[in-house]
Symmetry: C2
């Protein structure tokens, strides 16, 4: 039971966009460089986030990505749900895959657990996440994200 790189990378991508909210579009290249993630792979990850309306994009030489709404209005749950396609057990989404559904108690428990996970992820917004990040950065002395690395200046 682990979280895919896809979802983890997606969250980090969104955190960078959240830090730069209101500053216009950010290049994927810069995010990839800062977060040390393959740009091509990030390019695949951002597509469904855009498709779900969490991210806006613009193409061309001054293109890039930005959040579609405030960081406080985007929860981790939304991001993870989009990127982590599969649920805990298949029979939750699709009960027809198992004939034991009506009598299976363990299924009930996996559903309960799935609910708890959603609840937990739903209770954390990108804004809160970046607050944690900022506190840690103050202690350990890290710069303020993209700006420092940005290729233009």
């Amino acid at each position: 039971m682990k979280i895919s790189a896809r979802a983890r990378y997606g969250v980090r991508l969104m955190m960078v966009l959240a830090r730069n909210y209101g500053k216009g579009p950010i290049y994927l290249k810069d995010i990839a460089k800062e977060e040390e993630i393959s740009e091509k792979y990030l390019g695949q990850i951002v597509i469904p986030l855009r498709g779900a309306g969490l991210v806006l994009s613009s193409r061309g030489s001054h293109g890039g990505y930005m959040l579609a709404r405030e960081p406080s209005e985007i929860s981790l749950r939304q991001i993870v749900d989009i990127l982590e396609g599969d649920c805990l057990v298949r029979c939750i989404k699709d009960p027809s895959t198992c004939s034991r559904v009506t009598t299976c108690a363990s299924r009930d428990i996996w559903m309960l657990l799935g609910g708890k996970i959603s609840e937990t992820l739903g209770s954390v917004s990108l804004a809160e996440l970046n607050n944690i990040d900022h506190e840690k950065a103050e202690i350990h002395g890290r710069g303020s994200a993209v700006k420092r690395v940005k290729s233009k200046a």
Copy 2:
């Protein structure tokens, strides 16, 4: 983010043993038949459960498996922890695998989530799980487990 068949099967195996607690050892063959799981595969799954002291085994012609303690004293968390080797993200168990550990906020969230999952699984015992099961069985009319299928009689 899904639960492996290994862990799911392990939970079902333990539920059968819980239903038959106090009745002496149960054959893996019967459990496999009842739960419609490969006996050989179950044989692999039960080993670590025995190793962790949750299950007792005896070999030979009247061998089998039984719980090492009362169903109310065994939580889902124990079972899942034993069978689901990996944690949510590798950097939790082994911080040295990532250089960003000190400044990474997302890691904090995955740890929080991991805690919630443990908490949830820890709050459910095999006894409680079988109560749910029994309620469902009464509604949908299923027999009382192994006995019905048992190969000897």
